[in-house]
Symmetry: C2
Subunit: 205 residues, 2 copies
């Protein structure tokens, strides 16, 4: 499985780095999984919302990805660089739409969900986002679910910032099982938090 964590100017650092580390740790623990940090363009360096500068390891267009992790950042404060700005520009949402059409699962962290929404992909679909953006996500036509992680198959989303840890652990669990996810959680000394919503589980409610 190939996973891209996409970064763009003003991305929230922890939204991106937490899933990146969880997935890289899962690979060390035995998951057949490659995780790379990518930018949409060929930017050699990308500055996050809190000023951290990272160097992407590739581009979103450079390969085929099974899963694309979409961090948020700069949405709630309408930052000049960030998810809000990217949603208005439209190029990143268009790229996400293409990846989704090509078969990739999109997994958004925090207000990364608003980029998936801007791509027109979450209308009528269950999803979630940072607490301060839930109303906007609902107004944009998504069926907002009260859960920390929402798995709707090819669209996965979660709450704000640290929920990205639980989203990544869920991605590990759904592909490699609970035991491996627990190994990773113990390694990073994280107590997993839910609930994780899935269509299957909601049918049993």
């Amino acid at each position: 499985m190939r996973v891209a964590v996409v970064v763009y100017p003003g991305f929230d650092e922890l939204d991106a780095v937490a899933p990146y580390e969880v997935l890289r740790t899962a690979a060390v623990a035995g998951a057949n999984l490659e995780t790379v940090l990518v930018s949409r363009d060929r930017a050699a360096r990308v500055a996050g919302a809190h000023g951290l500068i990272v160097e992407p390891q590739g581009t979103l267009e450079s390969g085929s990805f099974d899963v694309v992790i979409v961090p948020g950042g700069g949405w709630n404060d309408r930052a000049a660089a960030g998810a809000y700005s990217e949603a208005r520009r439209g190029e990143l949402p268009a790229a996400l739409r293409e990846l989704h059409e090509a078969g990739a699962t999109l997994a958004s962290v925090c207000t990364g969900a608003m980029l998936v929404s801007a791509a027109g992909l979450s209308r009528g679909r269950p999803s979630t986002t940072h607490q301060l953006a839930l109303e906007e996500l609902r107004e944009a036509g998504s069926e907002v679910i009260d859960a920390r992680v929402v798995d709707d198959g090819d669209l996965v989303s979660c709450g704000g910032v640290t929920a990205g840890i639980d989203l990544a652990l869920w991605l590990v669990e759904r592909s490699w099982g609970t035991e491996l996810a627990e190994v990773v959680a113990r390694t990073i000394e994280h107590e997993r938090r839910g609930p994780v919503w899935t269509r299957e589980r909601s049918r049993h409610d």
Copy 2:
């Protein structure tokens, strides 16, 4: 308050980025606090244990710091680059000792505690580290405490990886109060985990 998050080849990415983001978020929420990512030497780029490349914003020698956050990484697996290698080389521990002598509080995350130990600073002092390094920390002469965060004044330490979130929130709480720490925790949608050990609290046990 000036805080340095020190990175070195093979540092654990989440150990460093999580406290960095918590402290930057606290500044936005009102704490009079400046947080910078620094390297010990003048490295323009530093690769972490999981391959993430970051660009430091300064050097450890470039200013006076009230608090120095020391991430771990690559200790338990004796990685060629990481905390184990840095402890053997000795330059980073020496720099930490100088900073401590100059009045800085050292706050270690995960096996960053082994670098503080290598600096000779935690002998006879309460501290903690990643679960897999606890025995080594004890053998090195530290009084290992069973707590997620251990605050011994000018030496603060915590458990593995995600414990760095709780350590940084504790640093916010001890300087600016519980309310601001809770604001930050809510912003990043984190449920704080303890216990936090302090000398004051241990006297009341």
